[in-house]
Amino acid sequence: MIPLTHSLIIAALLFTLGLLIILLRRELLFILMGLEVMFNGAALTAIAAGQYWNNADGQVLTIFLMVVTAAELAVALILVWLAYEHFKVTQVDMLTQLKDDTQGEPP
């Protein structure tokens, strides 16, 4: 039997790696992939805890997590495609349409 701590350590490692991918790779596609890795760390936490207490709730939670992830990705990928189509950018730092014009005069 694997101790619960080890599963939680692996889940924390996955979550941290996903966060690092989001923070370091500034491309939109890589940000979504980092989100996937983070979601998987969370799912591993839920399943490991559910198995530890011999309870099906962890698996139910993970099923809902998968549904939410699939719904989020379907919309987010279309938005990435639209950003590429309209602005020809893949880096998230170049999407500055909503930013204030810091060079100009204050109104």
Binding site: M1, I2, H6, S7, I10, L13, L14, L17, G18, L20, I21, L24, R25, E27, L29, F30, L32, M33, G34, E36, V37, N40, A43, L44, I47, A48, G50, Q51, N54, N55, A56, D57, G58, Q59, V60, T62, I63, F64, M66, V67, V68, T69, A70, A71, L73, A74, V75, L77, I78, L79, V80, W81, L82, Y84, T90
Partner: protein, 163 residues
């Protein structure tokens, strides 16, 4: 034996996730992401959640990765490198990790049928289904509404003739 397979699989999952940090091409990152998701499916199986292992392979490694690859194909990034396929450069790392995963699965299936597993407490899909359609029935309905809203949003965002 069981512990060795578990920790090897965990190492593959973490290594493949870490490899996403340093690869350049999005297709290579998608390959490593598939390996990480498959390794995680094996971890779920080893922890005793066979239903979630199958769902992980079907939904994540199947449907969501197809979405990713389709988007990469549509966006056609790095068009200057289009002549050379990405296969000759970056397929060895993911293929090696996938080979290890496959060997582990063979070993596991052999052991599973022969001696059984007294150390894994398996929660059957039946139990999960009873929980899903018993106390969590309202959440299932909410998930259905969420999926409907996603379909509407996807159709709205991808319609033709947008100004």
């Amino acid at each position: 034996m069981y512990e060795i397979i578990f920790y090897l699989t965990a190492a593959i999952a973490v290594l493949a996730a870490g490899a996403i940090l340093k690869v350049h091409h999005p297709v290579h990152a998608a390959l490593y992401l598939v390996i990480s998701l498959l390794a995680l499916a094996l971890i779920f199986f080893l922890l005793g959640a066979p239903l979630l292992a199958v769902l992980q392979v079907m939904i994540y490694a199947g449907a969501i990765m197809v979405l990713f690859l389709f988007l990469i194909m549509v966006m056609n990034l790095r068009s200057e490198r289009n002549q050379s396929l990405p296969l000759p450069t970056g397929w060895k790392g993911p293929a090696f990790l996938a080979l290890i995963l496959w060997l582990e699965l063979l070993l596991l299936l052999n052991k599973y049928s022969s001696e059984g597993t007294k150390e894994i407490i398996v929660i059957e899909p039946k139990t999960v289904g009873h929980a899903l359609f018993g106390p969590y029935l309202l959440l299932v309905e909410a998930a259905a509404v969420l999926l409907l809203a996603t379909i509407v949003a996807a159709l709205y965002l991808s319609r033709k003739g947008r100004s």
